[in-house]
Assembly symmetry: C2
Homo-oligomer: 118 residues x 2
DNA sequence: ATTCGTTATGGTTCAATGGACATAACCAAG
DNA sequence: CTTGGTTATGTCCATTGAACCATAACGAAT
């Protein structure tokens, strides 16, 4: 999903929504799995939580990011909307930008950290 | 201090420290005011909280970011160490990077937000 | 020695967050 | 018409974080 656990970008919007790596990873998981519950399982997150994050995002954007349906042979499923894919892509792009062009600063900050207990 | 309230960068380190805009602004305030309590007042933050944030930062880096002394005519004071200034500068540089080079993505994300209640 | 603004801590309370559990609704396939 | 996996919600509890309040220690200047 994302490889560097030390870097996490979090955006705060006027609407009150905060978009960080958790929601981004969840969106990506839904896109790849076609299901909210499957994406949640993959992240070891309860379905309850995964669903409420999706609900929160859908509510704060002017168009839903996730489109879901229930019932049927496979029980139902969920897909990212165009808007959802766009949001995910934009977030990833910002993350990438930070990692690439901010490598020097990040390295210096990390180097100054007191070594973690082993 | 920082002009765009909608953008907030938060770094998670292995050590467990989280460095976001709150601590960065606090560091900058201390640098400019020469006092933890003055910096706290400026941010409308209780001294209790300001001090504990400073303590937390000092503990997680291999050298203190803030150097303080108490007593004396002015009651005491606090200054940023070299390390403190470096950390602040690196954080600000990353923020700037995001705002400048990530302008397109940020604008698109903002545009998609449901308008906040007025 | 008193004063004054600051650093340095302790303790209590309150709200927000997240996790755990439980249950209902849904519907294609068999 | 039963089954199975999923979406959709409600409720309760533990943990966390922040907000408050209170107090001690400090030391230069007067």
């Amino acid at each position: 999903m994302t490889n560097d656990p030390r870097l996490s970008l979090r955006l705060h919007f006027d609407s009150g929504l905060t978009l960080g790596r958790g929601k981004a990873d969840l969106l990506q998981g839904i896109d790849e799995e076609g299901s909210i519950s499957a994406a949640g399982r993959r992240m070891k997150m309860s379905y309850r939580r995964a669903w409420s994050l999706v609900e929160e995002m859908n509510a704060h954007f002017d168009a839903p990011l996730v489109d879901s349906s229930r019932g049927g042979a496979k029980g139902g499923g969920a897909q990212l909307t165009e808007r959802g894919r766009q949001v995910l892509a934009d977030y990833r792009a910002l993350e990438q930008l930070l990692r690439d062009q901010g490598a020097e600063q990040l390295a210096r900050l990390r180097a100054g950290q007191r070594s973690v207990s082993t």
